[in-house]
């Protein structure tokens, strides 16, 4: 029975199948909202699934000189990293299925793995466009990872809990802390936009400049898995921010808790989409400059506020 429950948790809900369906749904929502913001019609609801299936059916070529082993291993690895991170985020209950003290660090690590995987994918593609995309991806990683980790640290500092579930439970029981963390939420949303490589931070995959950047030489199943990994990354990132900054989900019960989960993640996705709709792509040097000049000081300020709060006002 226990093994069966574990299998259901990992594979169906809230594991892989749910994440797959929700990732495709969020991709559709993002594309539809983006289109509507631009006065366009937007794709029908099954479009992301149709894209995925179409890519699976296409021929996949490994270019001469590119590393066969990396081409084989990296796409499933990206999906695995992101899907594993989702197991530590609470979805419908107070505790995520595999929570433990310290899983904030594990989630942060698992979420930064896809970027490193994209770097390796581009680097070993034997293609100058891919190399440029790959180097830009890791440069961008340096820029947004610092503020993102700093602000994710905030709820952990203030609650004394080092698990996502614990920090989110603390935030839920002290709702007055949510306005205090708004600066952190803003920093986290912008940094998440960078992590997901979306406009204005889609420099590594600047279609008008370097074809498809890191993903230029990937097609068929491999590209399908990479795209799935980026979609899932958006959901996991949104879920993480929702649980850490917006008060999380439950323990009002599994069904209302799940509804809160959906609402809060969709709200974060809405913010990401609006950010995408009103911005233009910036250069890599502008991006690093922006992050170091504005995001990191803002993140540090947020942490200082929380430290002061913890030291003087909270038990």
């Amino acid at each position: 029975m226990n093994a069966l429950m574990q299998a259901v948790w990992v594979l169906v809900f809230p594991g892989f199948l749910f994440l797959f369906v929700y990732a495709l749904f969020c991709e559709w929502l993002d594309r539809k909202l983006y289109a509507r913001l631009q006065n366009r019609v937007g794709p029908p609801w099954f479009q992301p699934f149709a894209d995925f299936v179409k890519l699976l059916a296409k021929e996949d070529v490994v270019p001469k000189g590119a590393s066969r082993g990396f081409f084989l291993a990296l796409p499933p690895l990206a999906v695995a990293a992101v899907a594993s991170a989702f197991l530590y985020v609470p979805v419908y209950a107070e505790r995520a299925p595999y929570w433990f003290q310290g899983d904030i660090i594990v989630v942060a690590y698992l979420l930064s793995l896809p970027t490193l995987i994209f770097f390796l994918a581009g680097w070993y593609s034997n293609n100058p466009f891919s190399s440029i995309g790959a180097t830009r991806a890791v440069t961008q990683l340096l820029a947004y990872e610092v503020p993102l980790l700093l602000v994710i640290l905030g709820p952990a500092l203030i609650s004394g809990e080092w698990s996502v579930s614990g920090a989110s439970a603390y935030m839920r029981s002290h709702p007055a802390l949510i306005p205090v963390q708004l600066l952190g939420l803003a920093v986290a949303v912008v940094a998440l936009q960078g992590k997901l490589e979306r406009v204005p931070f889609d420099i590594p995959e600047a279609e008008t400049e370097i074809v498809a950047g890191t993903f230029t030489e990937f097609g068929g199943r491999r590209l399908a898995l990479f795209r799935l990994a980026t979609d899932m990354e958006m959901v996991v990132g949104a879920a993480l921010l929702g649980s850490l900054f917006l008060g999380g989900y439950g323990p009002v019960g599994p069904v209302p808790g799940f509804v809160f989960f959906l609402l809060k993640t969709l709200f974060i996705v809405f913010l990401l989409c609006c950010l995408r709709a009103v911005s233009a792509r910036i250069r890599i040097d502008q991006m690093v400059g922006f992050c170091f000049r504005w995001l990191i000081p803002a993140a540090v300020a947020q942490v200082l506020i929380l430290v002061a709060l913890k030291g003087w006002w909270l038990p």
Binding site: L33, A35, N39, V41, C274, V278, S279, A280
Partner: protein, 164 residues
């Protein structure tokens, strides 16, 4: 970005409005007057002077002999640029630019129109067989048949309908 997000209120308003997309083919835009669509010939007015064939910048017109002393232009619509030069050049106003713009078809042969009304067939000397056996009309063969060498506008090798 001067003030980031200045566009946001207006952008959010777009969500509530109807999209600006024209859902072709269910909705179509109104074509303005003077719209240059498919050129068609009025065989009654045509005198066979071949000015249209000379003036066409795309080399999309070929005058064929239907009967002794009866010459009429045929149009290669896959080559036509819809510029309207033939209609403008014609001294008898025999060519009119209609408003037809949905010219999709699945057969290369049907893009060649020979003198509407008569449905005259392409002269045998102008026909070529391409590699997979489909018979089509080629401008290069026409060049060979008439012996004219001053038409350098045809692309090297094949005419417009040679690959099917």
């Amino acid at each position: 970005m001067r003030t980031a997000g200045r566009m946001l209120p207006e952008t959010l308003r777009h969500v509530a409005k109807k999209p600006a997309t024209v859902l072709y083919p269910f909705e179509r835009l109104e074509l303005p007057p003077g719209f240059r669509g498919r050129p068609v010939l009025d065989t009654e007015k045509c005198s066979g002077c071949k000015i249209c064939e000379r003036d066409c910048p795309a080399g999309a017109i070929e005058v064929v002999t239907l009967a002794p002393k009866v010459l009429r232009p045929g149009f290669y619509y896959d080559r036509c640029a819809f510029c309207g030069q033939c209609a403008e050049s014609c001294p008898r106003d025999a060519i009119a630019m209609t408003a037809e713009c949905s010219l999709y078809c699945t057969s290369r042969i049907r893009t060649v129109e020979r003198c509407d009304g008569d449905q005259a067939r392409v002269p045998r000397s102008h026909l070529r067989t391409s590699s997979d056996g489909v018979v089509s009309a080629g401008l290069a063969s026409r060049r060979a048949a008439t012996g004219r060498s001053h038409r350098h506008r045809t692309p090297s090798g094949n005419g417009c309908a040679s690959k099917s």
